[in-house]
Structures are given as C-alpha cells and as structure tokens.
C-alpha cells in the first residue's frame, strides 16, 4: 500500500529547521534521537528501545503528514544544556516524539507506549 505520509531524515538542528520551514502548513511529526554510530546504533539506549515502537505506528499517521526523523548529535553535544534543541525547541530529553507547532509531545518512556504514539497520530 502506498505510504500516506512523507518521511524525511535529517541530522542536527539546522537541517531540522530547514526541513520544517520547507513544509509550512503541513502536519509535521518529529522524532528526535541520539545520533547513530557507523554500526547504526545510537548512544541513547531509550532511543534504541523506542524507535521500533514508533516506527510500528507510522501507518497511523494522517494522510499528507510529514514524519521527520532527526538525529540530534553526539552525546556531549546533547548533554550541553545550551544546545539549540534544548534552548529553542525546548526539548528536555531523547527520545522525544512531537507534533510540530502543537503542545503534543511524548518524552522518553512515554515513547515506549505504542498506544500513546498511536493516540498522537490518530487524534486531533
């Protein structure tokens, strides 16, 4: 079946903001994860755990929406309380799944709960 949403992969804050600004007026969902190494494994164990759960619910995304998969950076960058994600996007932890421009977000262990993820994708 054809995918109803657009998936975008970005690395870092600037790439993320660029992807968002290019999709004004769209329903944008973003998943923020600690960056993966060459083996494709993230330094953030919660992100490793949450990703398959979030991906498992992507089929519930509303048609025409956008899913941005964003790798935030290396662990020392993330730990700095002044990084742009924390300062400007007000992220408190990774993983974070949010609906851009709304207060809807799921943080850390909340991302482990597939019914919460599905709820965000399917409700207004």
């Amino acid at each position: 079946m054809a995918r109803q949403y657009e998936e975008v992969t970005v690395r870092g804050y600037d790439e993320f903001m660029k992807a968002v600004s290019q999709r004004k007026g769209k329903d944008v969902f973003a998943y923020f994860s600690g960056s993966k190494n060459e083996q494709g494994v993230s330094w953030c164990p919660d992100c490793v755990k949450a990703e398959p759960i979030v991906r498992g619910e992507l089929g519930y995304l509303p048609p025409g929406s956008v899913f941005i998969y964003c790798q935030v950076g290396e662990r020392p960058y993330w730990k700095d309380p002044n990084n742009e994600f924390k300062k400007t996007l007000k992220l408190s932890g990774v993983p974070t799944l949010l609906r851009y421009g709304t207060p809807q977000k799921l943080v850390e262990e909340e991302c482990f709960k597939k019914d919460l993820v599905r709820m965000m994708f399917t409700e207004d």
Partner: protein
C-alpha cells in the same frame, strides 16, 4: 473439516445472542463506570476508579459558546476558568510590579505598554499543553476517552453523539454526571446574545477586548474587570445590587474600593437595558440607574456578561430518567454520598446542588466517590470549611464563616471579631496605598475562642490562606493563635498578632513592629 464449517456457520447469526449472553455472564455492562464530563470532577473520578482496575470511560464534549469559542479536554477550570484567569491576573500584577520597580531603583523606560497578542497566545498554548497532558494521563491510566455528547437513556444506559451526529449506545454499572456549568446570558436584554461575550470567550479572544463593560459583580466579573484594568484597558463594572454575593460583605466592599482606586470604573445599582452595534463596530450600551430611574449610555468595544452560571443539564435528559433536580437552581439533587435520586447515578462538581463551585472540591469528591464505589471506602466528602481566594487586584482569601453568617448562627454576643488594617512591607518603598489591606478573624466568644471564620485581603492571599484552612479544620482557637509565633517580616504574621476586637471600638490599624 466440513462438519466444523457447518458448526461455525450455524453459530454466525447467533452473534447477537452471543453478545447478550456474554454480557449476562461476565461484564454485563460495557463499563463499570461511565463519567459524563471531562472536567475537574470527572477526570479525577475516572482516573481514581481506573486505579482499582475498573473499566472506565469519560465522555467529554464542548458545545461552542454563542460566540463560537470551543476548547479541549479538562473542563472549565483548565480552559475558561481558574487557569487562564490566574495567568492573566499575574500579567496584570506584573504590570503593577514594573511600576513599583522604579521606586526600588530599576531604570525601566516608561510608560510601559501591554500587548494582548503576546499574552493571550502564551496562555492559550499553556492551556493546550494541559489538554494534551490530561489526554495522555487518561490513556496512561487506561481510561477510555470519548469526544462525544452524552445523555441518559435509563439508569445504566447512555446515548453518545459525535460532532458529526453519529450515535452510539453505552452501558455502565455506574454513571457519574459531572457536566458542570456554563455562563448565563441575560437574553431578555436586546442585543445581549448577538453582541456580548462571556468568560467562555474572553481568554480566547484573538484581539484585545479594548474598552470593556463587565456586567455582574460575582468573582468572575470582578476578577475579569480587575486584570483587564491591570493590563491597561479601560474597564467598567456594572453592578445591579451588591458585590460578591455570599461573601463577607465588609470585605467585598474593601475589594471593590481597592479596584476603584486601581482604575476600574463602577456603575453601582445599574442595570443594562439594551446593547446595539454602531456603524463603527463598537457597542452602544444603554442602562438604567435603578435608584434614580435615569437612563444613561456609553460605547464600548466589548461587553462581558458575568451574571451567573447555569448548570449543564439541558441535554442530559435527566427528567425522563427520573433524576431529581432542584427547581430553583436547575442543579442535580444529591445526598451526602453524591448519589442522585436514581440508583447508580451520581453527580459531582458544579452540576451538583448545594456544592461549592470549586475545582478542588469537585476533584476530592470525585476521588472519594470512586473509592467508595470500587475501593471499599466509606469516607464521605467533607464540604465544611472549604478555603477560597478571589483573585481580584487586591486578593481576598477566606475560610469558614463570614461575619454575617457567624452572627446569624451564634448571635452578636456569641462571637468575638479580631481585626487589623496592615501595610505589606513591599508597599512602603513602592508608596502604594494599603487602605484596604485587612485581616479579620471571627471567633466564638466563649472558652478558648474557636476560630469560625478567617478573612484576609492583600498580596498572595491564596498562599496566606491555605495554611489557615488546615488550622481551622483542626479546630484552632484564638488561644492557640496567640501562642503561635509569626514569621517576620511577612503580611501573614499580622494574622498571628491580631488582638484588637471590633467590640472594643479601638483603632485596628497596625503600627510598626
């Protein structure tokens, strides 16, 4: 193999029968508890019930206001009550603080201006995050949330209608009505519905309300007029008779006196007769002075009706099911355990007759009800000595009886009233007028002099009053108060130091340390 298929095929049309049998044998109802209304009471009750492993659902549905305002999960408090009110009150207080700051040495350019378009969206965003937070909580606690409008069909059955008109039927072992109230419109006044707004709308306005007339003298009216004045708008209050009906009247007058000197205009003993829209888009309000009979008029940008709240019972179909209501108030009659006249149907919060219209009492009543229904508890909600605070520009905190009520119950000779006019320290350097900062403690006259009522006007009245609510609940006496040491320097310590009685006729103004 063929026999198996034949067996299955024979059972298919019996699916309906299967469901009924299944219901009788195990679940019987779709839910153990169905709550109609997702506000303070409804959410607390449903989440508590779910903790006991029960199958719970909440129906929440917001009918838009006449102006078209709608909001999300959480009820009045979250969306169009306590929360936005307190935040806008804070915005107004900050304006006052910035003005005081000059005297404390801060170099701030003046005059300072306020931008509604910065404040309102910030408040609205916070409310939306609360809507989301409640949604996540319900899901997490396994409470089913349905954005449907519920009405009763019988003692265990609810009809639920979606915004598109799709109907469904739900059954429950127990039903809790927690639909709250909505602002009343004085529909007998021409133009009131078409041109006026209510507290349902004020916090969600996309533009500043501008020059506003608030009609009413309840705490809703005074709090709204208060923060509108505080953010620099021209605000007037039109009062038919007395301010803050039900509250201690001496204090109510101190509150409105302060508002008057703060900049809010008052039209006392006046009643609006009509509202018309001018070509400019502004509103022309005509009113009658009830004492002189004189007519007067003025133009405003906004007219805010704060003339009372009506219980949301119309659409519930209560009469048909036999749920008794108080004819006068329109609210649902309940007994001490929140039960209505129909078994297994309960009512909590603003919809219940005789209950305070407050969030904390609705929450507590909801939790205790769930514990009684599913947790083997027998604890009833104690509605005695519930503390409150009115967040007018001069805040007013109280717990227990007003002076009038204490006189009614014990006679003037049966009570002793201690009082004091004090000046908050912060007001001194700021050269603020503290004429209405006042404390009153109404006590029994005999014995250790148990405290019957506590009243405080001043900054942070809510924070000051909370602890005294505990004291009064524990039966604190004036003797114990005298034995308590004050915290210095605070305004609250003046409560501990009360010693002048009204009976003595002495000047109750506090002088120095």
């Amino acid at each position: 193999m063929a026999a198996l298929c034949k067996w299955r095929h024979r059972l298919k049309p019996a699916g309906f029968f299967q469901n009924a049998v299944r219901r009788q044998l195990s679940d019987k109802y779709d839910y153990d508890l169905l709550v109609i209304g997702g506000g303070s009471g409804g959410l607390a009750c449903s989440k508590e019930a779910a903790q006991f492993g029960k199958k719970v659902a909440v129906l929440d549905y917001v009918e838009s206001s006449p102006k078209g305002t709608k909001w999300g999960l959480g009820g009045t408090c979250v969306n169009v009550g306590c929360i936005p009110k307190k935040l806008m009150h804070q915005a107004a207080l900050l304006g006052g603080a910035v003005k005081d700051a000059h005297k404390y040495g801060w170099r701030i350019p003046s005059p300072i201006t306020h931008d509604w378009l910065t404040m309102a969206p910030a408040v609205q965003d916070y409310i939306r995050s609360l809507n989301w937070g409640h949604r996540v909580q319900l899901q997490d606690k396994k409470v089913k949330y349905l954005n449907l409008k519920g009405s009763l069909m019988d003692g265990h059955t609810v009809k639920a209608v979606s915004k598109t008109g799709k109907e469904s039927v739900l059954t429950a072992g127990n039903i809790v009505i927690a639909t709250g109230g909505r602002p009343k419109y004085p529909t007998h006044i021409p133009g009131s519905l078409e041109y006026g707004i209510s507290s349902d709308d004020i916090f969600w306005l996309k533009e500043s309300p501008g020059k506003t007339l608030v009609v009413g003298a309840s705490y809703v009216a005074l709090e709204c007029a208060g923060f509108l004045t505080g953010i620099g708008l021209d605000a007037s209050v039109m009062v038919r008779s007395i301010p803050l009906r039900g509250f201690d009247q001496q204090i109510a007058c101190l509150v409105t006196d302060y508002m008057g000197s703060y900049g809010t205009k008052f039209h006392w003993k006046c009643s609006p007769s009509k509202v018309e829209k001018l070509e400019t888009g502004r509103l022309l309000v005509s009113w009658t002075d009830l004492d002189s009979g004189k007519e007067d008029q003025d133009t405003f940008d906004t007219v805010l009706w704060a003339v009372g709240r009506a219980p949301e019972t119309r659409a519930l179909n209560l009469e048909k099911v036999g749920v008794k209501m108080n004819r006068e108030t329109g609210k649902v009659c309940v007994s001490a355990d929140e039960a209505t006249s129909v078994p297994h149907i309960y009512a909590i919060g603003d919809i219940a007759d005789g209950r305070p219209e407050l969030t904390p009492t609705a929450i507590q009543a909801g939790k205790l009800l769930a514990r009684r229904l599913f947790g083997k508890s027998s604890e009833l909600m104690d509605y005695d000595c519930v503390p409150t605070t009115v967040f007018t520009p001069l805040e007013y905190g109280s717990v227990g009886l007003s002076e009038e009520e204490a006189v009614r119950r014990h006679g003037e000779d049966g009570i002793e009233v201690f009082h004091a006019f004090y000046k908050p320290l912060e007001f001194t350097v700021a050269e603020r007028d503290a004429s209405q900062c006042y404390i009153k403690m109404v006590c029994l006259r005999e014995g250790a002099r148990r405290i019957l009522g506590f009243h405080f006007t001043g900054p942070n009245a809510g924070e000051v009053t909370q602890g005294f609510a505990l004291a009064i609940k524990c039966g604190a006496t004036y003797t114990q108060l005298m034995a308590t040491v004050g915290i210095h320097p605070t305004s609250a310590e003046e409560i501990i130091k009360l010693h002048i009685t009204k009976r003595s006729g002495l000047d109750p103004t506090v002088t120095g340390c």
